[in-house]
């Protein structure tokens, strides 16, 4: 009898720890512990030991998915300053997908036809990165949009992009060609440099933080007239009050300036498909096999937000139908030549 009772205690304890007991068994466990006060204490300690053994990992994709959900909740109301819901700008985009999706995902395999405006819109809570035709990298933050005319990256012309929102720029040097970022009230003339600009049209102020290099700022008035120009040095942050026209420049620490803007975004230039795929495998915790004959001369160039699903990224990677994407029953993928 006592042995039987003990057997039962073992099964009930392990069942409780594993979370497999039904109503009846739970009541039995409760009865068992009412007659034995030490038992509950033992059970709780044993559960804690088991819990320690069962700490779970989380894939970066899962983490990003949950973070994006929180950010959407936080920025969902219109009251949060700086980042808010806005009408999405629409341009005739290079890829139809770029206009349709709100999370940015765009590939630049070939030079775009020169008359086309390219627009990248980031939904609130998202982030994304783009490699411009000259190799400059731009990381866009929540609810921001960037557009440019691909023709301005050809020949000896100055490179011009237009920003509404917040972005980090890492500008590629190009002999004798300026890089110009236009926002509604500040224009930035750059040679080769890293900086962050926060210029939401509806905000009362714009902020520019310079990491290295040199930039020249053109501050504009309400109707686009030039108020004044100034130079910014590395490690300086400039805040421009749009209503009063007041400008404040402050020194900031290197660490403060170099926040990790690039998290959650991935860009590559002239990369082999195999390398891109192994990066995706790590990030999404997936298995992707590649068949022969898929590598392109000059490699693949592009960028996407890792918050996008893997299926979507693979179909964008295959924008020209060069290969076939097969999804197997075990959840792994096979990319093979047509």
């Amino acid at each position: 009898m006592s042995n039987n009772m003990n057997n039962n205690k073992e099964a009930l304890f392990i069942g409780y720890i594993d979370g497999t007991l039904d109503q009846e068994q739970l009541r039995e466990l409760e009865r068992l512990m009412t007659g034995d006060p030490q038992a509950k204490h033992e059970l709780l300690e044993m559960k804690e030991i088991a819990d320690c053994m069962m700490q779970e990992e989380m894939t970066p994709y899962e983490k990003d998915r949950r973070a994006a959900a929180l950010m959407n909740l936080v920025t969902g109301g219109r009251s949060i300053a700086g980042i808010r819901m806005r009408e999405i700008l629409r341009y005739a985009a290079v890829a139809a997908a770029a206009a349709a999706v709100t999370v940015f995902a765009l590939f630049l395999f070939k030079p775009a036809p020169s008359t086309v405006q390219t627009a990248i819109d980031i939904r609130p809570g998202g982030s994304g990165a783009v490699v411009l035709p000259d190799g400059s990298k731009v990381t866009l933050k929540s609810a921001s949009s960037l557009c440019y005319d691909a023709s301005s990256f050809e020949g000896k012309k100055d490179r011009v992009v237009r920003l509404d929102g917040e972005a980090f720029f890492n500008v590629a040097r190009a002999e004798g060609r300026k890089f110009i970022v236009e926002t509604d009230r500040v224009n930035i003339h750059v040679t080769g440099t890293s900086f962050n600009i926060q210029a939401f049209r509806e905000d009362q102020s714009n902020t520019l933080t310079l990491l290295d290099g040199k930039v020249m700022l053109e501050l504009l008035g309400n109707s686009g007239e030039r108020l004044h120009s100034m130079e910014l040095r590395p490690g300086e942050r400039c805040v421009f009050e749009k209503v009063t026209g007041e400008v404040v420049v402050e020194k900031i620490s290197r660490g403060e300036a170099a926040q990790d803007w690039n998290s959650g975004a991935y860009y590559f230039r002239g990369e082999s498909l195999r390398n891109i795929v192994s990066h995706l495998e790590r990030y999404y915790d997936a298995r992707i096999e590649t068949g022969p004959g898929l590598e392109k001369e000059g490699g693949y160039t592009g960028a996407f937000s890792l918050g996008d699903g893997l299926d979507r990224i693979l179909s964008l990677l295959n924008y020209d139908n060069a290969f076939v994407v097969e999804k197997r029953e075990d959840g792994s993928y096979l990319l093979r030549a047509k």
């Binding site: 720890i17 007991l21 044993m46 804690e48 949950r66 917040e166 805040v239």
Partner: protein
């Protein structure tokens, strides 16, 4: 003068960073007391409420201090959820919820480093378990293999597997409490 608008968006990034950093541990923690789908919502709610409140937690540097604050908040959220369930459950699941409340109260691990410390204590004692007992224990709790599968693997009854698991946890519990006394 810093502009309040700028501060707000910097705080937003800090919130996102902190959430990503602490999410896996906090989620594992909450799952000890509440069902898995509820755990995700509760952790999210905690961050949402912190954001809507004074945001004072952003002033605590990332580390054990902030973690303890977050762990406490998550534990309280779990207890509130359990209390609510007990109030509305019509006695059907009360036994389970009451035990889970006890678990939350009993729990003394309130940061990731607490967990790591406990885990390394456990691991230093696992080696001293009898061979079969250790194997069954690690297969079940480390590799997450169900009791029935382990029973089949060793050609023993499910009841024997449970007895081995019980024995392992009891021995570990006793050696850990001895260690604490010393």
């Amino acid at each position: 003068m810093r502009n309040p608008l700028v501060t707000s968006s910097e705080q937003l990034f800090q919130l996102e960073e902190s959430y990503k950093k602490n999410l896996p541990d906090l989620l594992s923690f909450a799952k000890r007391f509440v069902p898995e789908d509820v755990a995700g919502d509760l952790v999210q709610d905690v961050f949402l409420r912190l954001w809507q409140g004074s945001r004072a937690f952003l002033n605590i540097p990332e580390g054990p201090g902030r973690q303890m604050y977050l762990y406490r908040s998550v534990r309280n959220a779990c207890k509130d959820w359990l209390k609510h369930q007990i109030a509305v459950s019509n006695h059907s699941n009360e036994t389970l919820y009451l035990l889970k409340m006890d678990e939350a109260d009993h729990n003394a691990l309130l940061s990731s480093s607490d967990f790591e410390q406990k885990l390394s204590q456990v691991e230093s004692h696992v080696d001293r378990l009898p061979a079969r007992c250790r194997e069954v224990f690690l297969m079940h709790y480390r590799q997450r293999r169900p009791s029935a599968e382990i029973a089949e693997y060793f050609g023993i009854s499910k009841r024997t597997v449970e007895a081995q698991l019980y024995k392992a946890l009891q021995v570990l519990r006793e050696s850990l409490s001895k260690e604490d006394v010393e």
